[in-house]
């Protein structure tokens, strides 16, 4: 099976019009020796029925857990039915970037509305139409900070998601910036003393995440003040985006960039992607931030409409002087987030609160087990780190009961051996938590 409508007869007529005898003649510019003489070594075609059966078998080789206890940057939330019904409309998913505004008002207005909701959630003045994911959003904010200030030092809270730190370091390496990690205090929050010591005039930005990787809510305000005090910028990340429903917006607390992963807003876990990089900032960076921006304007008859705007920031206009290289983004994931936020509305606060309740119940329940105790006393959202007798055996017991295990902190934090990170969203039933506590006893 393939998707080529041309029949042999069509091809002949077209070759005639072009004035060639054989399709081969279309490839004269390719040196003869490089033209493939045989078919590629790719399996033969399949009918739709066969590919469907084949792919169903592959999917069935994965094990779908009865409940997910993993958070660690990706969160299992309920997705209202409307979300998929909207993003499955082919007017949206088969279109590309809205270069032609007059036939793209649908997505342009949706972007404008999304930008608005994100600025409100983050306490900022501008949000772009998406980055690749939370990690690249953070990395680009860091690079942009350094380029803007002409400084080359980045201070990263060690409590930032390990993979985010890794991505930031890769981008920093490519640009010759130094990265310094700031440890976390006993509370689980960033060690502001250590931060103060490390801040210097070469420091472009301080990067934190709240809730951080351990689920602990950071106090962003003093950190922003510290950074600004040494002429550095504050990049504030977050883990689970639903936490924005109750936490003080980092923008209000003084962050210059608010970045993070928007997967929680209506996007399935999808084994890691596609996700949604959220990047928001202050008016000061309106003309500097990377990515697409939709702006309101009017048409020739004065009717309100929307266009992609401030494109002189972008690669297709400024080339090597662009503020980023991003072109394709995660528009459809952004649309899912917009629909998700529209359908939750003020209920997002209720949902976030429910997450807090679930996590606190679960944490207390497990902390009561012999040998189990919280790693950090700090306030948590829906994720928490515990010290336990044996992470591996705990996880294998969970897995054999059909749950996922927790995240083994020793993977990335040798200093936290015996630490396990667990998450409880609205999807985890009390019944399961009690059940789990029982089987971990």
């Amino acid at each position: 099976m393939d998707y080529v409508p041309n029949t042999l007869q069509d091809q002949q007529q077209m070759m005639k019009a072009i004035g060639i005898e054989a399709l081969e003649a279309l490839f004269v510019d390719i040196p003869e020796k490089y033209r493939l003489k045989k078919l590629l070594e790719i399996p033969p075609p399949m009918s739709e029925q066969e590919i469907w059966e084949h792919m169903t078998r592959i999917a069935a080789r994965n094990v779908t857990p009865r409940s997910t206890l993993l958070g660690a940057g990706v969160y299992h939330h309920y997705i209202p039915a409307v979300v998929h019904h909207i993003i499955a409309r082919s007017e949206f998913y088969t279109a590309y970037t809205p270069y032609q505004a007059e036939i793209s008002q649908g997505i342009l207005q949706a972007i404008y509305e999304y930008q608005t909701m994100i600025t409100r959630l983050t306490g900022t003045q501008v949000a772009n139409a998406s980055m690749y994911d939370g990690a690249t959003a953070m990395a680009e904010a860091a690079v942009l900070s350094a380029k803007t200030l002409g400084k080359n030092r980045l201070l990263l809270a060690r409590s930032i998601h390990p993979e985010y730190r890794a991505v930031v370091k890769t981008y920093a390496w490519a640009n010759g910036y130094d990265c310094v990690e700031i440890p976390c205090a006993a509370s689980g929050q960033i060690d502001s003393g250590a931060l103060k010591d490390q801040l210097d005039d070469r420091t472009a930005a301080v990067l934190v995440q709240s809730p951080n990787f351990f689920g602990i809510v950071e106090d962003v305000k003093p950190l922003a003040d510290l950074a600004h005090g040494r002429g550095a910028l504050l990049v504030a990340g977050f883990t689970d985006a639903t936490s924005l429903g109750i936490l003080k917006p980092a923008g209000e607390a003084g962050a210059d960039f608010v970045v993070g992963e928007g997967q929680s807003f209506g996007n399935p876990m999808n084994y890691g992607g596609p996700y949604l990089g959220i990047l928001a900032s202050t008016d000061a960076f309106l003309r500097k931030i990377p990515g697409r921006l939709a702006g309101a304007t009017v048409d020739r008859e004065g009717c309100r409409g929307y266009v992609l705007t401030l494109q002189t920031r972008e690669q297709h206009i400024r080339r090597e002087k662009a503020t980023s290289n991003i072109c394709s983004n995660e528009a459809l994931c952004m649309l899912a987030a917009a629909v998700y936020l529209a359908s939750l509305g003020k209920n997002l606060k209720k949902l976030a609160t429910l997450n807090v309740w679930k996590a606190n119940y679960f944490r207390a329940k497990l902390a009561a087990l012999p040998g189990w105790k919280p790693l950090f006393p700090g306030p948590v959202y829906n994720e928490f780190a515990l010290a336990c007798p044996d992470v591996k055996s705990a996880n294998s017991r969970l897995e054999s009961a059909g749950y996922t295990g927790g995240y083994d902190l020793s993977r990335e934090y040798p200093e936290l051996g015996g630490g396990i990170l667990l998450c409880a969203t609205e999807m985890l039933r009390k019944e399961d938590m009690d059940n789990i506590a029982a089987l971990l006893k």
Binding site: Y3, P44, M55, A59, M117, Y132, T170, G273, W357
Partner: protein
């Protein structure tokens, strides 16, 4: 159309949150009030409000399923419906990226096989699937170049970019801390070899070449180009966004390229989603494999697992494993059409482009008069001269004929450029209808230029004021 916020009504709701089955505690008992938000200004709507709002928005949006979308360089081919269904299988959508490898063998096998298919298609040793889009792949590829020279303790500061290149190429190079030197094109739209020799100094890390390039032309002197670059110890990078012209016909690896990024959302039929998600896998020759991002899937017997034991890797360039669900669609596509189908893709993509080129050449000025590959580039210069009608006007007028316009004003070296990429999934009838529209617009430009300049006339909004948008930026709603 009204905004969500304008339709919001206090107390209106779409759905409810489940009642709590665990004890309820006052938030400020567990999180200090100073860390909590005071209000949450999100719209309040009923489900029917939301559904109608977005359904109406969709009616003001044009996609491939609505009609012909010859947006040059973007390969807007038809997106098979079966791919959407497969990607929606719960086994694929519901997995957390940190589940044990034993629970994700299906996914790992798929990723491993996909990397293998792409390697075979491109003639490369291996692929990373981590980059989230083409530009991200470029960045990854350029980082590999950086790492390569770092290992060799060579300090190379510059990368060559042809003047025809897509904007992401210089931007990616810059984002990786390299200088950009612009390489001139010659009179036939290819690389100016003399200029290449001149620019290719010891501090040049390599050349980033798009082949076929953005003029839709294949680099005839690819041998010379490769030997000049390699001769000076440089690396040859292929921007594979235009691979739709080549798959099954020739292999970039065989042509001498060391690195290539592919755009799965172009060549491999995954939908563009109004701008994304995409996926930009990067393939390299064997000597560069150690530098690819981690983690990578490794096969041991019949089992697959993740490994980050690659000390020379550039590291991570995205969280987790990239846009997995997009890869599921690309994998499905490759398995559906198979080896024969892959070749038919390029044969027909190129046939369709050349057919349009021949049909339109009497009416529009051809940028370069050569056999083209998957796309053809015209110049609107003739119309500007004759009647002051610009390429924008022609593009906007096409909207009234029910077509999505081609890419315009790119590549930059062609004045008033009109870049047409039909793809292989369009039938001769569709191409004929499009050509008829272009021809009648050419006539209109002569006989009634004001009509064309006042286009579009049939769209939900008329021509938008971009200048106002940029002069008075309004990027979020602040009124209610």
């Amino acid at each position: 159309m009204e905004l969500l916020f304008e339709n919001s009504r206090p107390g209106r709701k779409a759905g409810t949150i489940p009642a709590s089955d665990v004890p309820e505690v006052a938030l400020d008992k567990v999180i200090d009030t100073s860390l909590l938000r005071t209000d949450l200004n999100l719209p309040e709507l009923s489900e029917v409000d939301i559904v109608r709002h977005y359904t109406r928005l969709s009616q003001r949006n044009f996609g491939v399923d609505m009609g012909f979308y010859p947006l040059g360089s973007c390969t807007m081919k038809y997106n098979p419906k079966i791919n959407e269904n497969v990607a929606g299988l719960q086994g694929f959508t519901s997995l957390h990226p940190y589940v044990p490898e034993a629970a994700a063998q299906g996914n790992l096998q798929l990723l491993h096989e996909l990397a293998g298919f792409l390697s075979e298609i491109c003639g490369m040793a291996d692929f990373t699937l981590q980059p989230a889009a083409g530009a991200h792949g470029e960045l990854t590829g350029v980082m590999v170049i950086k790492k390569h020279f770092e290992k060799k303790r060579e300090k190379r500061t510059t990368i060559l970019i042809p003047d025809t290149a897509h904007g992401t190429n210089p931007a990616s190079v810059a984002l990786c801390g390299f200088q950009v030197a612009t390489l001139r094109s010659n009179t036939e739209g290819g690389v100016d070899l003399a200029h290449l020799r001149e620019l290719m100094t010891p501090d040049v890390a390599g050349l980033m070449l798009t082949n076929p390039n953005t003029l839709g032309l294949f680099e005839r002197n690819i041998d010379e180009v490769a030997s000049i670059v390699h001769g000076k110890g440089g690396l040859l990078y292929c921007d594979g966004a235009n691979a739709n012209a080549l798959i099954g016909v020739t292999r970039p690896g065989d042509l001498g390229f060391d690195i290539i990024q592919l755009n799965l959302h172009k060549t491999f039929s995954t939908p563009h989603g109004c701008g994304g998600p995409g996926s930009g896998p990067v393939g390299v020759k064997s000597h560069l494999v150690p530098f690819l991002p981690v983690p990578r899937v490794v096969k041991e017997g019949e089992r697959f697992r993740w490994s980050d034991k690659f000390p020379d890797s550039i590291g991570r360039i995205r969280s987790f494993y990239g846009n997995f669900n997009v890869m599921v669609k690309a994998y499905t596509y490759i398995r559906s059409i198979g080896a024969e189908g892959l070749r038919r893709v390029s044969e027909n993509a190129v046939l369709n482009a050349n057919y349009i080129k021949e049909r339109l050449r009497p009416y529009y000025q051809l940028a370069y008069d050569r056999v083209c590959m998957h796309e053809c580039v015209f110049s609107g210069e003739k119309q500007v001269q004759e009647s002051g009608v610009h390429t924008t006007d022609i593009a906007k007028r096409l909207l009234d004929y029910g077509f999505h316009p081609p890419t315009i004003y790119f590549p930059l070296i062609v004045r008033e450029a009109i870049m047409i990429e039909p793809t292989e999934t369009e039938s001769k009838e569709t191409l004929d209808e499009f050509c008829a529209a272009m021809i009648s617009i050419a006539k209109e430009a002569k006989e009634n230029p004001d009509l064309v300049k006042s286009a579009p006339l049939t769209t939900p909004v008329k021509r938008m004021d971009d200048v106002l948008a940029a002069r008075k930026p309004d990027v979020c709603w602040t009124l209610c």
